[in-house]
Symmetry: C2
Subunit: 379 residues, 2 copies
């Protein structure tokens, strides 16, 4: 099923796009010392952010087993001590982007649980500080990085202010929220955030990370899991719930131009959501008369998935599932650099059918993010 539509790029942009090899929509740049970020945060709450280890943030108790960065490259200092692989933009550009042929990377950062932090003012201040720091130290000095406008969605008023503050900056290409949430994202209190996304022509990115921490409910519908293994495996469930909530509450009827990118959730669960939801809609839509189309129609039109981590299966089954979810138009390459604990991101997409590879590596990102991805943003 093919539903996605998008205005074509202008001629000059088409030419620029033709020269691109890889667009990576998920690069986790790292804050080595929060004292570097603090000056970019609002003065009133700067003192909460200025500890080297960063602000006090609720966190869950699950930790990756084994080497967190897998075989990702990392710098080594004069004493042979390994540094963080994503703390220095020039090093990341040279050692990851250039060596792997990545032309453009969208920064998603290290703070993905803001939306479930109890102190909403502090969460908003952190978002502002991180956004300014990202723009000034990563995005503007380089041509290869684009930024995400991080917001803390539990206070939609401040989230909208932040989107309006940065929403027309050519260095910022999406709004980024943690998928961990006190309530499903279709709820009406969040609609002003979606309106702001559309107002500035920005996709909404959701990224896993804070599930089960802070104000989040347990990370499964039957309580807290025991291990990281189980916690990480369960995470697509938050996307399932958000998708159903956003479709059911009519978000895409109100904001027909809104696009949503789901990060690090895989995609093999999407056929189930589309088809169970379609079946229920046929019997139960009297409850939600504003949901005028089959749920799968909204899903295929408005949601995008990312490749890291693509589920393990046979090439034949992968091709079948990609056909079911229109992967040709909805799947974006995500490197998840430097969190390569599940393997190399290029090895992960080895089984994607050849005919679809350029769409996944370049063209779908251009379709989602539009010409802003190609606009100069340097200082």
């Amino acid at each position: 099923m093919v539903i996605t539509e998008r205005a074509p790029l202008a001629a000059a942009d088409r030419e620029a796009a033709a020269g691109l090899q890889v667009i990576d929509v998920d690069l986790h740049h790292h804050i080595a010392n929060w004292q570097d970020v603090a000056p970019y945060a609002p003065e009133g709450l700067r003192h909460r952010i200025s500890r080297p280890g960063g602000p006090p943030l609720a966190r869950h108790g699950f930790k990756i087993i084994g080497p967190r960065f897998g075989a990702a490259p990392h710098p080594v200092d004069a004493h042979g001590i390994a540094g963080h692989p994503a703390a220095d933009p020039a090093w990341v550009q040279a050692e990851y982007l250039e060596k792997r042929g990545v032309d453009l990377a969208i920064l998603t950062g290290p703070v993905l649980s803001l939306g479930v932090q109890p102190n909403q003012d502090m969460a908003a201040a952190i978002a502002t500080g991180v956004n300014n720091w990202t723009l000034e130290t990563w995005v503007r000095p380089y041509t290869c990085f684009k930024g995400s406008i991080l917001v803390a969605h539990q206070d939609p008023v401040q989230a909208v202010e932040e989107i309006d503050r940065l929403g027309d900056d050519p260095g910022m290409v999406q709004v980024l929220m943690g998928s961990a949430s006190e309530t499903p994202l279709g709820r009406r209190q969040y609609h002003p955030i979606y309106e702001a996304c559309v107002r500035h022509g920005l996709p909404l990115a959701l990224h896993i990370g804070g599930e089960g921490a802070g104000m989040s409910p347990p990370s499964t519908a039957v309580g807290h899991p025991t291990t990281y293994f189980e916690w990480y495996g369960s995470l697509p469930q938050v996307y399932m719930a958000h998708i159903m909530s956003m479709v059911t509450e009519g978000v895409f009827e109100k904001y027909p131009d809104l696009k949503v990118v789901l990060y690090e959730g895989g995609l093999f669960w999407l056929p189930h959501i589309m088809w169970r939801f379609d079946k229920n809609w046929k019997a139960q839509r009297a409850e939600t008369p504003w949901v005028q189309h089959l749920p799968s129609t909204y899903i295929l039109k408005h949601f995008y998935s990312t490749t890291y981590p693509l589920e393990v299966s046979s090439p034949e089954e992968l091709a079948q599932v990609l056909e079911m979810v229109d992967g040709e138009h909805t799947l974006l390459f995500s490197g998840n650099y430097p969190n390569w604990e599940l393997g190399d991101p290029f090895a992960m997409i080895a089984d994607i059918p050849t005919a679809m590879r350029r769409r996944v590596l370049v063209e779908n990102a251009l379709a989602v993010y539009g010409e802003r991805l190609l606009r100069p943003h340097a200082r």
Copy 2:
């Protein structure tokens, strides 16, 4: 992938089985008046159960929209008043089973939120009362009904006592728990329940119903949904969490003979769980060294799905998914009588490949429940 193994039936049983047309593993018999059940409950808590409307039970706020029973048949009294379609076993036998060619039906009843009721003693007393009432008024007077041993799993001690009390009765063919749960079902406090299932050769059945009620966490990992539509659509997520928890906590290493039947959850989400979980296992299994095989190996060997409601899709996609999850060996016909709000259960399986139909309608149930399904149980 084909993994399921089971000892073959004895010759006499094979002959009896050959004459069967349909085994329905999910018939929701109804309690019209709880005063009928009360005499079968333990004396000490009988007074809580003896109100006509039944005991006080926590419930969620979601209700089916539209006609709850769809086009299911229902009795009409002398005054033209419609009765409940599943309150009278003789009527159900004549009007559903015989008219639709169902030889045997497993009773699953109307009380599927016991496991999240705060009063654990009352929940256990209800289970005992309902089990005795089911045996005496539905199972023993007929040859066409088999019962489920309902237990309230939040108190595993009483649950095990109930399984041991009834576990060798030829009228009872499985242990039944609500899938709604305060904690994931892999947790070790529940292992004695699984040990009791295996001790009596009984599969474990999980059935949706109480999600979001009582002691249950919200029915999604991001909080309470708004509508029945969304609530019902989200329910497979509890099965995903339970599967991952049970595999991760080593339930199937401890109890290699345990079989689990997942009711009313569909099955199109299973490929995602198998493959995401397999991928994670490869990277993260140091955390759970007792999980010795790929998670999908345990899943295909130990879990069974039911047909109501089978997700809507094309015949081609349905065939692909059935292949992925080994539906030929893991899918059981469930009529969900009389809750036909999503359509007729036989119409729902119209697209199942012909070569697989007899397995789904008869043989897989015999493989799961074994020869007890064919044993006489009448008084």
